[in-house]
Symmetry: C2
Subunit: 343 residues, 2 copies
Amino acid sequence: MFAKKAPVSIKQLAKMANLSTATISRVLNNNGRFSSKTRDMVIALVKETGYAPNVAAKALRTRTARAIGLVVPDIANEFFALIANAVERHFFDQAYSLFICNAGENARRNESILASLRGKGIDGLIYISRFPLNPAEVEAPVVYLDRIPNDDSALAGVSSDNRQGGRLAARALVEAGSRRPVMLCHADDLKRLATVNDRMTGFAEYLAERGVAWTAKDVILSPLTMSAARQNVRRAIEEGRRFDGLFVSSDIGAIGAVYGIEDAGLRVPQDVNVVGYDDISFCEYCRPALSTVRQNASALGREGARLLQAMMEKRPIQNKNIKVPVELVLRASTRRSSAESQS
Amino acid sequence: MFAKKAPVSIKQLAKMANLSTATISRVLNNNGRFSSKTRDMVIALVKETGYAPNVAAKALRTRTARAIGLVVPDIANEFFALIANAVERHFFDQAYSLFICNAGENARRNESILASLRGKGIDGLIYISRFPLNPAEVEAPVVYLDRIPNDDSALAGVSSDNRQGGRLAARALVEAGSRRPVMLCHADDLKRLATVNDRMTGFAEYLAERGVAWTAKDVILSPLTMSAARQNVRRAIEEGRRFDGLFVSSDIGAIGAVYGIEDAGLRVPQDVNVVGYDDISFCEYCRPALSTVRQNASALGREGARLLQAMMEKRPIQNKNIKVPVELVLRASTRRSSAESQS
DNA sequence: CGACTCTGAGTAAACGATTACCCACTGCCT
DNA sequence: AGGCAGTGGGTAATCGTTTACTCAGAGTCG
């Protein structure tokens, strides 16, 4: 019923045209020498037979699959889904295939995903994961996206301007009246990712400029799933932690945090101003609507794809450390800038 | 710099183990004969070297790409993302690769996606799209998931028990006191998809049983994006449409609809009860929290993947029309069952 | 005219895995 | 001892393409 009939191969084409496979191949790839008469004949034959090259054979021979890998932490997070869409759009037009893989929160799965990508012989990798990657074992250009390791500045990466993002978040809190702000982020990210460190740097920087006391201890550590953030924020408050402003390093986590605050009997924004990060579409639809630092997910994906392609084609690269601008979006989770009181 | 050094091949493994490639291959595929000592040694060697078979070579030799396609309407919708995850998990374990494609809302893009999948020689397709598919031109088994065309009952499909879902939605509205319910869905889906028709059938059926007047005219047509639903619901109300219960065929659409209702000056649930469909995680976090019919996205994905695999392996299939149970989740967008008044 | 350079095209060896076929050996039965 | 079956594993062909060599013929130049 679903038997695969063998598609026509280059060998059959060669026989029909009274040529060798080599010549056919040269015409098809437009490399090497052949007469225009030969070219026309081959092209006509291809049209007639509907010949399509066997991608497996091609991949095997050329050691290039015309495929790229995209590792994301969680495709069910809209932010990553939008990035994936942008990457796919770019590469679809270039006739590359895209393998989208969910790294999840598990280092072992991350490893097995990388192994499988290796087996597929991808020509490039866009990597968004909290887990370290040994570039040597990928054997292809790698672009880090959004989550940039902080140990190596030589690598290619695209991220938002996270320092500016941190500054904007701090500004939102300060201008909403917060005087004891804290930041919520994932412990591992803080250790590993420039992404989060940059946000914190910008955050601290702005607070210092405005004379608001803040130290590296004013951080709550938690995974940024909704439920984990909710629980950890609630627990922090119940254990006596006091703060009147909260900057969460992702919207999903921020929404959870809002609930944690309310669970603990406080109100947002009256008692605590909350600012998230990403601006996923639900920020506008949750209650209170979430103030956040908007990342341009499409731009991140697009720039990452472009950079990767430049690397794969070994084009000279002016800047392998691209920063995409961010934007502050104020909604109901921060108080309206009520003629900001004493400095 | 990014020169590809050849990954370890089966030939090198053979040399290390002092065996032939044939034996290695037999162990790896667990077919043919070999001693348990050999097996252990090979397995250890694979672990040690991180060997991953070259899929291109495998595909070339076996004439099977070991790849499947997954067409989804919008990967940024959590419901589809969860399905994609389940499918990926299933096939990852079987060492299949998965091509995830966004059909989007555009028929032309849908076509070009199918064309590209064809070129990749996929061995199977899971298809979630509102656009018709000509199975003949895919040359591989197809499983319809969630969105089942209503013109052909011979095809393989996995969906929720949508008739029951429609019944549950109706029950939620009726028990919350609605007497003039309407349904919101996409015009094309109503024409093409058994999925939506089943929901409507169940909806109408239950209403009839409870003596609530409802006809096929009590439907508002709208795309189910947040903004479109919001706008169309608002407009319907402003044009004088009156209803006190709304069943929306997706949560995203329902959340938009709630805003449309509020835009028009009415309240949810006091003036209109709203029930969605899917139970994405934001149902719990939007305000008012959304009552909805929960679909088990993971089960849908898993069952779809299993069914497809059975078809690809030409195993006898007892039931190619799988229904996954649904569940009613009551939240704040429907009034609490206030000792339901007159029959 | 001889030496050279182009041009167009063929030959055959890879690429990495699978598998039909074969063989050597062991143990067992008659 | 001879026959036979079962076991473990090697040999080599094959999948469809690409590409480094090679080469015959034609044109060009001194």
